[in-house]
Symmetry: none
Subunit: 210 residues, 4 copies
């Protein structure tokens, strides 16, 4: 029923991003999005099943393309450490270039209902898979510690990137996200600790015995 391609399809999605970013999720009425896209209200329903479907499509369309970009970019790099940096660089670059999209995905779309968030989660899962692949390679290639729990590390990476972007938006997008790539990358690889790993391991064991 719903035609998921075409000029108007793109126009509606782009209009939705603008309207949601500028008015907030709860003030993004279908009629407002239609007006912004220069189509009739009913036209939206020729391209999307309903409003939820439009929001999910919006996210998947943009996020899907981003994931593809990340996959291709990381494939061109050998070292998992550099792949991770590339992923971070692209993650920040993509949102820094599209602050409206950033607002929509980081802030507004999180207010959506269960249905929308589930639709989003599926695509997000694919991004997690990309991160997982990098971590796994790193472990296999002996770049990352063999005892790193992939899921734990993935949550650290995604959680940090996500929180960093949200903070950036909440503070008005005033500074450059790109400047944070290296500091964060360093934190991921080396941690905050100053001591040599060996010593810290000993410390950790002491804790474990306590």
């Amino acid at each position: 029923m719903a035609k998921r391609t075409g000029e108007k399809y793109e126009a509606i999605i782009d209009a939705a991003i603008r309207v949601i970013a500028e008015n907030g999720y709860h003030n993004a009425q279908v009629s407002k999005i239609a007006r912004e896209a220069k189509v009739a209200d009913g036209t939206i329903y020729l391209y999307f099943e309903n409003k939820d479907d439009m929001l999910i499509s919006l996210f998947n369309e943009k996020m899907g393309a981003f994931i593809e970009t990340v996959r291709e970019a990381t494939a061109r790099v050998d070292s998992p450490s550099d792949q991770l940096r590339e992923l971070m660089r692209l993650h920040f670059a993509q949102l820094e270039e599209n602050p409206k999209m950033a607002i929509v995905t980081q802030i507004e779309l999180r207010q959506s209902n269960r249905k929308v968030r589930q639709g989003i989660a599926e695509t997000l899962k694919k991004y997690m898979d990309v991160i997982d692949d990098i971590i796994r390679s790193g472990i296999e290639q002996g770049i990352f510690r063999p005892d790193v729990d992939i899921r734990v590390a993935r949550r650290m990476i995604f959680g940090t990137l996500d929180e960093t972007v949200t903070s950036w938006i909440m503070n008005g997008c005033k500074y450059s996200l790109m400047d944070q790539v290296d500091p964060i990358h360093r934190l991921f690889l080396d941690g905050m600790g100053k001591e040599a790993p060996l010593q810290r391991d000993a410390h950790s064991e002491k804790e474990g015995n306590a």
Copy 2:
């Protein structure tokens, strides 16, 4: 106007947590919360300015107590590294003990409108301050690297804890969060990298020059 104490004040907040956790944010009507709290709809407005105020109060009331707990607990520990572990331990423990509260703060309250999220942000800032204090101490005491950017590290820590809890809830609270304290603590302190810090530094510099 709004009386911010009393038996019914607490009853309403606790009822709100139960109702939101069980029905979801968008199905937590004032009348449903009133019924659960065994008061009349109008009574809620004797204790709260409006629904937003009730949700903000709910968060601040619970989060404020938690922050106090964390402050006290970390004050009893010397090493910033151990303070960080303690914070993580309490963070996970608190939410693992109150899954309903966890669902409300991690999932449902994020669907709230701008006003509520701003009210929440103020209290959250205090939690960030606690984290900042720990990092600052660590740097000052020479436990953490002096070139660690406090804000960057804080976002890593909070982002990771947040993502970890959200994941845990999304997966049905099936495993124990407490098991993740040490692996995450280790990641924060030592990073994922296998090489010695010195070598890794060199590597990092090479990257920087590239």
Copy 3:
């Protein structure tokens, strides 16, 4: 949930009858009915589950009372023939006295959706039962022919009354329905035929053999 009694309950039902009779089923918006009843739109939903429920209630409320009236009136009469006349008299009287109600039940409510018509059908069934009882008594008392099929006779009686009222409305309620009680009653009892029953029976048999 829905409070099915009270002053406002009656006011809404009466307003609905007026609005539907004057504007037609498809132009009887909830907001128009609310305004006519001098209540807020939302108030209607304190007394009815939804618009369908309101229409079904309207019919059942009025029809239920009518059926009760008919039951009581026919109970005060001995002869099934007179009971039938009494039913017809009340049927016509009730609608002649409330032309708006007549328009609503005979014309407008028939345009309603499946749900409403099913809700109406249940109550209508009770009216059919009253007719059936009269016919059955008539047969048992030897007033009506023993070979009369109750269902067939009931459909004749109800169909005739219904068509008579619909015709009357379609022609602008210009003549008196009450004048038709006796002619119709006579038709029901004696039929249109001029010949003696015996002769006609013979005729009928001849037909049956043909």
Copy 4:
């Protein structure tokens, strides 16, 4: 503008009957009928002024042919009593042979708006004229009582047939309508009463004097 003949004209009407019978009046969208007729939505407007016109045409086309059939059939019979039986027989036969058409005319089309029902009424009037003619002949030929009011008798006849068919559909078209021709015909001619007409006349006069 509207071309009222042709292959597609018939195809659209037949598609409309199927779609309405299967989906109900309120779910018989123009686009659904167009799809069923294997034409484009816009094509329907080359053959009909609008949707109402299509429904009215549908009824008139089919009902007009039926009335013609009845006129011809009754013309081949002498006795008005037999003419009446023939009309009933054809009425039931026609609908029993086309249950979809029966559903459309007896149930679904009655939910239509004022305009459609008025368009239908005109054709229905012609059917009433056929019934009137039979009754008039019967009276003139001394077969029916001279004091029978033609309009009253016509409403009894039509109302009974109509209610009988509606009942039959509502009960799932499980029994044969044809079996009811003779019982109903007998009721029309002889009535339900057991007593001799003379006695009943006396009774009736007593009523009339009351």
